[in-house]
Symmetry: C2
Subunit: 177 residues, 2 copies
């Protein structure tokens, strides 16, 4: 049984999807390109050839995730351009834990210059997007980002999102939201 051939671009998409899952679980340094290849159903050397290096693959994964976050916000703002609506959109993103946790891993790995630059650029862009879309005051926007970071960290700790670990303090924290 021969596998279906795809264009490099199409296969790249599949690899990127696998990379989100893998990097979300183990972070930049902790993820093996071999694991990504396994998830994508291709060989490890091919993953490298499609993206050059592991770091470039991670950067591409970060870009992809940030694009999805911004897109989710823009789509939400079409219905109603306020922070509450964007918050709902963010909560839906939490259903795919890996997504936001990849972001967190990017922030955490900012000591690597290329990753730090990408993290700062994209975080700033998300902040800007939130403000532009909603017209929120700097203070409101800051609180929105802060809550987002709290939820992202909680997602990494697996106390929000699918199959959450039971945790008294977590339910405590969430019920005031």
């Amino acid at each position: 049984m021969t596998r279906t051939r795809l264009t490099a671009a199409e296969r790249g998409e599949e690899v990127l999807e696998a990379a989100i899952v893998a990097f979300g679980e183990s972070g930049y340094a902790g993820t093996k390109t071999d694991e990504i290849a396994r998830l994508a159903g291709v060989s490890q050397p091919y993953v490298i050839r499609l993206f050059g290096t592991k770091q470039q693959l991670f950067l591409a994964t970060l870009e992809r995730v940030c694009d999805q976050v911004e897109q989710a916000f823009r789509t939400a703002a079409e219905k109603q351009a306020d922070l509450e609506t964007l918050g709902d959109a963010f909560n839906q993103l939490l259903e795919r834990r890996e997504l936001l946790v990849v972001l967190l891993h990017g922030f955490a790995a900012s000591a690597e210059p290329a990753i730090g630059k990408a993290s700062r650029d994209r975080f700033g862009r998300i902040y800007r997007t939130v403000r532009d879309l909603t017209g929120a005051t700097p203070e409101e926007a800051r609180e929105f980002m802060a809550t987002g970071m709290l939820l992202t960290v909680m997602a990494a700790m697996q106390v929000v999102g699918p199959n959450p670990v039971a945790c008294t303090w977590a339910t405590d924290l969430l019920e005031t939201l």
Copy 2:
């Protein structure tokens, strides 16, 4: 020139201090025990013998950092038991970037069961400590933790703390605080 001999406990303290710096920079998976040894001025195998495994060393480092955070809060609350005072204490912790960034790396690495458990336990304990010390409402405490996470992420991205990378959105965000 022979080095000064210390007790295992004393040397362990020095290694732990080095581990905070190293893990803060590169995270759990990205840090080599060799680098920690170099910073502590001992051999790599000795680091392993003092703590058993790299994971146990990371867990010990997490505990140490969380102890310091809680201690800072308790000390601050002795002067004045409100969130603003604790916030000032937190800002002082930011002066040592590695400290809080180690925490972030712990949260991010929560897919590793032992690290996840430790992260959840300690985060919950910090939340509890904040509430107990200040008597803040659940909502106030949640906002406090959220702001803390935002600042921690910004510390990882090197836009707050010592020698910050210049960044328009970061100054924007901070001036409303």
